[in-house]
Amino acid sequence: MTVFRTLAIAGLLLGYAAVTSAQSAVDEIAKYRQQLQDGNPADLWEARGEDVWKQKRGPKGVSLERCDLGLGPGVVTGAYAQLPRYFSDADRVMDLETRLVHCMVTLQGMSLADATKRPFGSGTNRSDFEALAAWITAESRGTKMNVSISHPKEAQAYRLGEKMFYFRGGPHDFACATCHGESGKRIRLQDLPNLTEKAGAQLGYTTWPAYRVSQGELRTFQWRLYDCFRQQRFPELKFTSEASIALTTFLAYNANGAAFNAPAIKR
């Protein structure tokens, strides 16, 4: 009995020391993040994004300024807070990147292959989507998320997205929910938002796109899903695929009511 009690006490003490050092580590990480807030390199992407939006491009030599992001042709302010949404001209639900591809093809006359050539940038091989998304989403900063699922196709996307969120697969049996289904969890020192709860869903969704300091790149929500699935050991998620739009609809709708707060800066 004594041995067991001693062990138990030792265990408690170990646990206590661990909790305090873990807490100070978490506090220091918070300080680290705080020190980065002022001076987000996402600003550099925003400036380029505005240029790309206004540039005459593609075979038709027109800009994206007549692109309808859901609030009417050319209306950018507040548009991202209502995406994804159903677009009657395409008869489908689209997220921001999918809509931009649509506009590049229909307005600017690009081929689908040309338009989607570089979804994600790397160093000097830059992605127009990342620049455009940085600028367009910044124009929704402070706007309350207000995504609709009233159209049957929106409702359908939401329900499919929800199923995919809980879908376990691959050699590691991972689902989105494995890491994002419970509150107060971390991977290494990174807090994991619980995307199945209001607060977590809001925090998670409204802080993308983000400048990732680990990569020195601005990353969009399409990239967020793409890279989560890579680390889930799934096959490669296709850019603007139906699954990506469905999941985005599920996550964006769950963030409704929160003020949009991106582009952010993250590890």
């Binding site: 680290y32 980065l36 600003d43 991977i187 290494r188 020192l189 300091v213 020195g216 680390q231 590890r267």
Partner: protein
Amino acid sequence: MNPMRRTVLKSTGSAGLLALLATAGFLRPSDVLANGWNKIAFDSKTMAETLKALGASTPASSDAIQLRAPDIAENGAVVPIAVDSKLPGTQSIAVLIDKNPQPLAASFELPSGTEGTVTTRVKMGQTSDVYALVRADGKFYMVKKEIKVTLGGCGG
């Protein structure tokens, strides 16, 4: 809406930069190459060599210098560092990272009228002591702080 973007005025490259960079401080004429960059100091592989190249072999400690940085960096690629020197006549500030392949990360020359405060962001290959080296009234002072670099994310 970003106030920063609105204030930027585009302009073309400047020709007179080297003239603008012709300031004193750490740089001794014999060390300086054609473009004004102190190659010897930046190529030095140890703290001792670097300090020697900067002409600061035995810097004193000082309570008037504050090195503001987190104890733990979430990512070594971007570690925010702020140096505050309250020493009168602060002329230059350098940031050195002991365990980097080349310790010298950056040096700043502060003409009179510029406050003794700079903020920058540096890369750290691993947990290391980080030093702020300050030259004030011709004398060198140095403070240090250990910054832990952690592994993060899913690790893949």
